[in-house]
Assembly symmetry: C2
Homo-oligomer: 394 residues x 2
């Protein structure tokens, strides 16, 4: 096991009716709130009204900024930063999924940042403060409600970059699985693929002696695999939603990856797809993950046998480990298919014209600064291109 | 799944050499530290010298209070509170195991408490503040490095009570598994029994739809069962110690019990043993746990079949579930035996003279306020007495 530093101070308030406490919970921590959200779905569902009522009841003033889109845009972040400064906002409440939360985190650090906040995404570096962010989660997927991470798309530059800081962990995240009842099937499926990927990226490792986190990763994955088809079949299955929602948070609060070298190649490859083609992140991950597995498994056979046996429940002769792994990957593909997720770039509307460009952007080769991606197995732009090409069509 | 509120803001710094950072880590948070510890073992091991050196290098003034005993005493807590007030201490650094940490937490809240701090242990109620507590862990066992709980013994009254508050979660816990290399075998074994019990108390539940936390509990238990014999056989096995140490923390930071009704009968029954006989808490739990399982399992058969199959690896005909459970409990007993743990009260030096008194204290019947203990199955004083009697001798 490697040395590690784990710090996850997010308060998670979970269960029925919890969103109604938002006003009283924030009141001691804020004098003016930015209510930040996406489309009109929270207005249709009644959640918007409930949040407003709770804030008003607590006498907590607020301003609003809606309009967050999937793959949240830098331009709205700039708008939010200006609004917070003008209105002297001291806490941001994101109501939505990962996009609203990531946008809120960008605004939260941008308020204190001298210069364009995009530069921390592009160049890295440390921030030393951010406004506190609270969350009411409506889409279990990104895990942003528990992480210190944010991913923003610079729509002008067609770049999608992530940034992380302990200052960006939410103060409080509220998760009432009843709020997931109205999600469309494709968002359910995309969310499931995203949270599974958060575990995969941590699970596939070269680090030895990781019994505890191996077991935790496997428990989270098996819970998702069991319960995801249930919520897809019956979007009002509260018990199954509890498992999915809680799993999505545990998948990305950092715990299950502590002390292990992590991979993150699939996320790197996917960000290039959604930066240019504006596809759903989870759908991109569902296409890429089995292809990545097929490309790397022969060099890391034992890790993939463990995945096939312990996560996908494959039985068979250990004297033919490749067959076990192939069966494990096939089961994962079938699971994604059952969830209605795509399996090819063609299904995502991505043709072959920019595959090389994306492969070179993923590894930095496009900018003359190539560094291979992937902790388990290093991938250069040619490797990424091979993976992209393997999933163009069926 | 039940509604829950999870908040675990303890920073865990894990791995080789981490204790050497203590001075620089505390310097921004403290102006004067109380260094609180137990016996001379940290002086013999060199840890004491390293901590002093790190504090001095950072220019952080400190005062000392050693002498914490297992089942930490109220009298030393009183002494610590006075010392902190006199010396204007603003952070307590506990170097040791659960006893040093629990004693530090009692002092930390006592400094701000108006009256005798024992009254919060005896009568409950909320505290609204406490000094920050930092930890360098030398015994993985109690999980106090991650929890908001403290257990103190009032030696005059022969009472051992626990108390919990979010204000008592440590600010920072440092865990270098190399510091466990010098632990005597009985302390290793007691620690393992204690951390396993922290999972058992959460695992055995009547709550349905707890897939994720079932899996997390099982992962922690299996990790401990695999690695505990390794550290017993080779106390310098760093990798195995990493698993045990990290498991002990995850066992008790609250996560694996979220959304589930919990049990805690074994802890309640054990506290009576150690309050009067001053035995090691883990040893008492090792004696009580299999006996408690045998007493309750027939009413909660499915839960125990799951334990036997998923944790203890029992195979066999599901048409005879009692045989599966009996085998599971037998395997747990054998595991405790292999660890050198006792199986009877006689081995703990406890005779039959005060069994009824302890049973009545455990449930409050002794004080005319009987309330049954145990979330899985309610136990009254007669039940507790039956369990005590079942383990008097072999």
């Amino acid at each position: 096991m490697q040395n590690f530093d784990f710090y996850s101070p997010v308060r998670l308030l979970f269960g029925k009716g919890t969103e109604q406490q938002i006003g009283e919970l924030l009141k001691p921590r804020a004098s003016k709130v930015l209510l930040h959200y996406g489309s009109g779905s929270i207005k249709q569902s009644g959640l918007y009204g409930a949040v407003i009522a709770s804030l008003q009841e607590s006498g907590l003033p607020f301003v609003e900024l809606g309009g967050v889109k999937p793959n949240p845009r830098l331009s709205l972040v700039h708008e939010g930063i200006e609004l917070c400064k003008q209105e002297k906002v001291d806490l941001i409440l994101a109501v939505g999924g990962g996009s609203a939360i990531d946008s809120a985190k960008a605004i939260a650090m941008g308020v204190y940042y001298d210069g364009d906040i995009w530069s921390v995404y592009e160049q890295g570096g440390k921030i030393d403060r951010a406004l506190p962010v609270a969350v009411i989660l409506t889409i279990p997927a990104a895990g942003s409600e528990s992480s210190g991470d944010t991913v923003i798309t610079n729509e002008k530059k067609q770049l999608k970059y992530g940034y992380g800081s302990p200052h960006l962990r939410p103060l409080l995240s509220i998760m009432n699985p009843e709020l997931f009842f109205t999600l469309p099937k494709n968002q359910i499926a995309n969310g499931v693929a995203d949270m599974m990927s958060h575990v995969f990226e941590r699970y596939f490792t070269n680090t030895m002696h990781t019994d505890l986190t191996d077991g935790l990763c496997e428990a989270v994955l098996k819970t998702i695999i069991k319960n995801a088809p249930r919520v897809l079949n019956d979007p009002q299955d509260y018990d199954a939603w509890c498992e999915i929602g809680f799993s999505g948070t545990v998948a990305h609060n950092g715990l299950v990856g502590m002390g292990r070298e992590q991979d993150w190649a699939c996320h790197g490859m996917e960000h290039e797809l959604s930066a240019i083609y504006d596809i759903a992140h989870g759908a991109g991950l569902a296409v890429l993950t089995p292809a990545w597995m097929r490309y790397v498994y022969k060099d890391k056979l034992n890790m993939f046998v463990q995945f096939a046996v312990k996560v996908m429940g494959v039985e068979g002769s250990y004297r033919d480990p490749e067959a076990i792994v192939e069966e494990g990957i096939a089961r994962l593909s079938k699971f994604f298919q059952k969830m209605g997720l795509p399996a090819t770039l063609a299904e995502l509307g991505i043709d072959s014209s920019r595959l090389e460009l994306m492969a070179k952007k993923a590894t930095g080769a496009e900018f003359g600064t190539e560094a291979p991606i992937g902790g388990l197995k290093k991938l250069y732009w040619q490797d990424v291109l091979t993976i992209y090409k393997s999933i163009q069509t069926k």
